[in-house]
Symmetry: C2
């Protein structure tokens, strides 16, 4: 693996698995009123669009990172819908 591939892999890992502590926090606190539903939905739509982009251009790493991120963002969205719908949508 080249140096720049390692940089790309590290970047993808950080922006993907960064969601894990956020999900843990919401599920542990059973509270997500401060998490923005709009953020969740826009990020979900964005990740799906990156998936389309990766699939069309057959960019393996983009496809795999975004598949994992998709699952993580869905987990955060579920936490938001379950624990945080009392303070409105912004």
């Amino acid at each position: 693996m080249t140096e720049i591939e390692v940089v790309g892999l590290t970047a993808g890992a950080l922006t993907t698995f960064g969601f894990v502590p956020q999900i843990v926090r919401v599920y542990r606190a059973k509270s997500a009123t401060e998490i923005s539903l709009t953020f969740n939905l826009m990020f979900l739509a964005g990740v799906c669009t990156w998936l389309v982009y990766g699939l069309v251009l057959r960019l393996g790493p983009l496809i795999w990172w975004n598949l994992i991120t998709l699952l993580l963002v869905l987990a955060l969205l579920y936490g938001k819908l379950r624990y945080g719908m009392t303070r409105g949508k912004v």
Copy 2:
């Protein structure tokens, strides 16, 4: 602009500007205890690493989107440090 470029542009816009409603929510509520500091820091490190990747490979869109995301994640981090440091770090 080709169709796939539009797809990539849309994807970048969604995953970048998705942070705006999250920032608005934190600053409006003056509360960020549910926002994970680890999420913030990992995402910040990830965006910086994507910037390095984009700069080395001279990928314009990657550089610009990640510069904007960097500013937005810094704004969220500032909100977290100002309004949400009472419940620990996860």
